[in-house]
Subunit: 190 residues, 2 copies
């Protein structure tokens, strides 16, 4: 048990370290050796968990994707179209704000974009689920374009280094407003 | 004179061919040899115009950037804040729609993003000029976030393969509406 806990702990630290190095040097500019050095372990210890940098990149991205999947699932279970959109929008904005560093990396780094591609942009992906919810039933082109612009705008503005000095609450409220305006949703009471 | 005209013509064809190959295979997946083969010229003929693929990528991107610069300049010369924003927005949307293939490449290809970076994201770049116009004087955080989301949303939705089946007019009108909503601008009359 202790060994398993130790391995889990190393894996978690490894992923946090990888994200930090990816942010500083890009995925291309980060080697397994650099991750090992930063962690103070041998390269063999890194290999124990991950065989390639692509595997690490996928593992860095995975928790955020799982969260997005579960938000899509929750939103889809709302009965009213408006409530579905509001749930999806609030969940997506909150995810982007909490994972700002990763989102910034995703928008700027080809390595992360590649790792995300198969999960995020495949036919069955959560991106399709999110878009279906945000466009609503029988959308006209203006609505489809607005939903695409909302998702791209929220993700890129959320991860933008130009906006990194805003605190989470300010960024979250401003990004929600972006989504509400584009999707025609009222401000929530309370 | 005839020789110069011939060279100009080859250069233009070379850039159009490069954009087509970049779109099909990515910048990384396109070689100078592939460009030469597609044009039916020798690799030496390509070298006559460009020494590296980076030079070609920059040259492919440059006309669009020059257009953006001149739109920023025109918009800045408008006297009223609202007119500045409307001019900038209409010009940017039109540019994105006319250069859809390039915008799509820019959003998805690290090679193009790198070539654009120094022109587009530097301190003195036209991106800064565009943002200054779109946010208006003394913007609050919500306004800054909205302007960033508008630019990112328009560019990424405009270049999205999911929306490639919309005709130019439909896409242009829908993207303008995205910008107007986020920047609080009224629809134009007429």
């Amino acid at each position: 048990m202790a060994a398993v806990a130790g391995h889990e702990d190393t894996r978690t630290r490894l992923l946090a370290t990888a994200l930090r190095l990816f942010t500083a040097h890009g995925v291309e500019g980060t080697s397994l050796q650099m991750i090992a050095d930063e962690l103070g372990v041998t390269k063999a210890a890194v290999y124990y968990h991950f065989k390639t940098k692509d595997e690490i990149t996928e593992a860095v991205v995975e928790p955020g994707l799982r969260e997005l999947e579960s938000i899509v699932g929750e939103a889809a279970r709302e009965r009213r179209v408006g409530a579905r959109i509001d749930h999806m929008l609030a969940g997506f904005v909150d995810l982007v704000v909490r994972h700002r560093a990763l989102v910034a990396l995703f928008s700027s780094d080809p390595g992360v974009a590649r790792a995300l591609e198969k999960h995020f942009f495949g036919k069955e992906s959560c991106m399709v689920g999110m878009m279906t919810i945000l466009t609503g039933p029988d959308p006209d082109p203006a609505r489809v374009v607005a939903a695409h612009a909302a998702v791209a705008g929220i993700a890129l503005a959320g991860g933008s280094p130009d906006l990194a000095h805003y605190d989470d609450d300010t960024l979250r409220e401003s990004l929600l407003e972006v989504g509400r305006k584009l999707l025609g949703r009222p401000r929530r009471r309370g």
